[in-house]
Symmetry: C2
Subunit: 422 residues, 2 copies
């Protein structure tokens, strides 16, 4: 069978399964999630053995340490997969909710009903635990899923796929509701993202280059996450203790995450009071500082190591212990910087001023806008979504963390009694 035929078969099966999933009741979907958790628990040894094959091949192929770490399924990570399934089972079912049901002057009764998207394609890299995360979210939201993991995790993913199929079957749902692409041929991705008849939306999870490539070639709708260039702006009315805690937490809580602060903006009026204190702490934590001209002057005078930021620093997602710092004259300058250099992901203001807080909320064009809180809160779990399929930097459909609701849409429903249009 050619890759094209293979993917077409998966697509057709997924479309058929999606119809059954759309009318599967909540109890059945939860039963499947719990049965998958059981199956994974029972298959721990097999999963570990298959994962060991991937790890061995990865080492032989010279994968770097970070990639190998993501590839590994430790017992704790298998526990995490099981725990995740239980959590998703406990979440409310988004499907079927009817809202805004009202009579129109014509006499028809009009409302909206929440409904699955249909077939969701997920394209991800080396983490095999994403297979279970993605499957569980798609399943609970009533969608069929086609999962395409990295080729280096193929044995792990196949072993997990067996457990998912067993769980679906045990609950009386179609095994084809979740299909793992079992070829490592790259052409499979090209098919997946262009089968508009069989796939409704694609979610790429991975590095920026993967996502850009997929967005460029896709004909199917894409829910995508590009950069997280997040800012914290410390206004002159800020409580400097809150500001200190927030900037340190936003930058240093974790470095390699998309909701970490990459650029700190500080009002010139409080720079002398605030900047050396914060910079000293950053330096103590090993964060390299790159500042605008005034920042360099101020920190150098305080004997704190700092280098001059280049223009490109303002547009860079470091994902590392590096921070760019810029002094601004006022909030307008800060907002302009954020909207022009940020990635519309998450941006925070530290301020005690009511009017400025309202202004920041309205004018900053980002998927999460925060007042006096750490950017690190922009996360599906912290937002109570239970889990997230990704964080969208798109403007249409769901913005920011995408949970179960983001995998659904709404259709219009009309109840009449023989109504016709005049």
């Amino acid at each position: 069978m050619t890759v094209q035929d293979y993917m077409l078969t998966l697509g057709k099966q997924a479309r058929a399964a999606s119809r059954q999933m759309a009318s599967a009741d909540t109890g059945k979907k939860n039963a499947a999630l719990l049965a998958i958790a059981d199956a994974i628990n029972s298959a721990r040894d097999t999963i570990a053995a298959e994962n060991a094959r991937d790890m061995e091949a990865g080492r032989a192929n010279g994968l770097d340490a970070a990639l190998l770490d993501r590839l590994e399924l430790t017992p704790e990570r298998i526990d995490g997969m099981i725990e995740g399934l239980n959590q998703v089972a406990a979440l409310p079912d988004p499907c079927g909710e009817i809202t805004d049901l009202k009579y129109r002057p014509s006499g028809i009764q009009l409302g909206k009903k929440r409904t699955p998207l249909g077939v969701v394609g997920i394209i991800y890299e080396s983490r095999p635990n994403v297979t279970v995360d993605a499957a569980s979210l798609c399943l609970k939201s009533g969608n069929a899923a086609i999962l395409r993991g990295g080729s280096e995790a193929i044995h792990s993913n196949k072993a997990v796929a067996v457990c998912i199929a067993a769980g679906l079957k045990a609950a009386g749902l179609p095994e084809t509701a979740v299909q793992v692409v079992e070829t490592t041929d790259r052409a499979a991705v090209g098919e997946l993202i262009t089968m508009t008849k069989y796939v409704d939306v694609v979610v790429p999870r991975g590095g920026k280059s993967l996502i850009e490539r997929i967005s460029a070639d896709a004909r199917v709708s894409v829910i995508k996450h590009l950069d997280g260039i997040c800012h914290v702006y410390v206004d002159k009315t800020a409580n400097l203790d809150k500001a200190f805690n927030i900037v340190i937490n936003s930058k240093t809580h974790r470095y390699g995450v998309c909701n970490a602060m990459e650029t700190m903006l500080v009002d010139e009026a409080i720079a002398a009071d605030f900047l050396p204190r914060a910079a000293k702490e950053f330096a103590a934590r090993g964060v390299e500082l790159r500042g605008c001209e005034k920042t360099v002057a101020l920190l150098t005078a305080s004997d704190i190591p700092v280098v001059a930021a280049l223009e490109e620093d303002w547009d860079t997602e470091y994902l590392a212990p590096i921070l760019s710092i810029k002094l601004v004259a006022n909030m307008d300058e800060a907002i302009e910087h954020i909207n022009n250099h940020g990635s519309h992901h998450t941006d925070a203001l530290v301020s005690e001023n009511y009017t400025l807080a309202r202004k920041f909320l309205t004018e900053v064009d980002s998927s999460s806008v925060m007042i006096n809180a750490s950017t690190r809160f922009a996360d599906g779990f912290e937002y109570g979504l239970g889990a997230e399929i990704g964080i969208s930097t798109d403007k249409i459909h769901a913005r920011g963390p995408v949970g179960l609701e983001g995998l659904t849409s709404q259709k219009w429903i009309v109840f009449g009694d023989g109504h016709i249009r005049n």
Copy 2:
């Protein structure tokens, strides 16, 4: 200036204007809409004269009668433009609404705020009144717009653009909030749909080939409307009088519209009672009937003209007085036909059965699903959206008629008091 540079200039100006529009208050936006209406009223003679130039050129270039009709701005159509502006001014402003504001266990207060998309590109064909419709919806929803109408309407569109700019200026809003592309070079469209930095979403309005071409080439998100292959399924429990009225209205109220019925599905059990009666009325109204084998047998026996439907008839949007008819054994067969051959636009059931009505609502995967009502109700005005920028056949973002809310999105907002993540 090259087309590329020209479009880039429009894009940059639109992006800058979109920032101002996002924080423009409702009163100012409404003032602009009313000022545009005044400007159009004052410029009736100029608009008519410029439209006459387009009409003359159109006749000289051999445009067909339907196209010329759409191109013409009669005094009534100018009245319609003014009336539309007044209606949009009277609609509630979707922007800024904050919903679901709740405390999370971490102590942060999390909600969602409705926000404009940013810059909206509209690509349409010969109707110059779309220029005002699109401008008014984008303006009211706080977006900046770049409007690209058909080259045959260029003088009309430029004349209308002058009025829009005057109205925006009078209300103290940036004139660049609505820009009409003033080159007829086709390359302008290619630029518009790929300027991801300056355009957030594109709405093509026109024939299927235009929309398919734009969807294929776009890098910007597209809200698109392809076919309207709508069905009415008459179940065996239907009240046959309601069914009669609904199918006649769905098909014959207007033929060239996307929410007209193209295929009628009838339960075999009531076919003998229902079909000849309905078919006789269709025939009397000049509707050509194309039926499945059983339909042909039944109608031929009743001396009603009918031809045999080809396989492709089930996938055709006639937009004409033609109807395909198929008898089905039960609702499962009807739903399968609708989901496989329909266009996920609008489909209706006529039935008195509670369980079947629930099943139809859940299993039919269309943007509007109706019980005992005419498909012709699927329309922005009938749904109370006030006006529509289009009808989306996509599954993500807005489905079905897209009004002001469909031109907005929601961002997450977080209020804290110095909260940091543990």
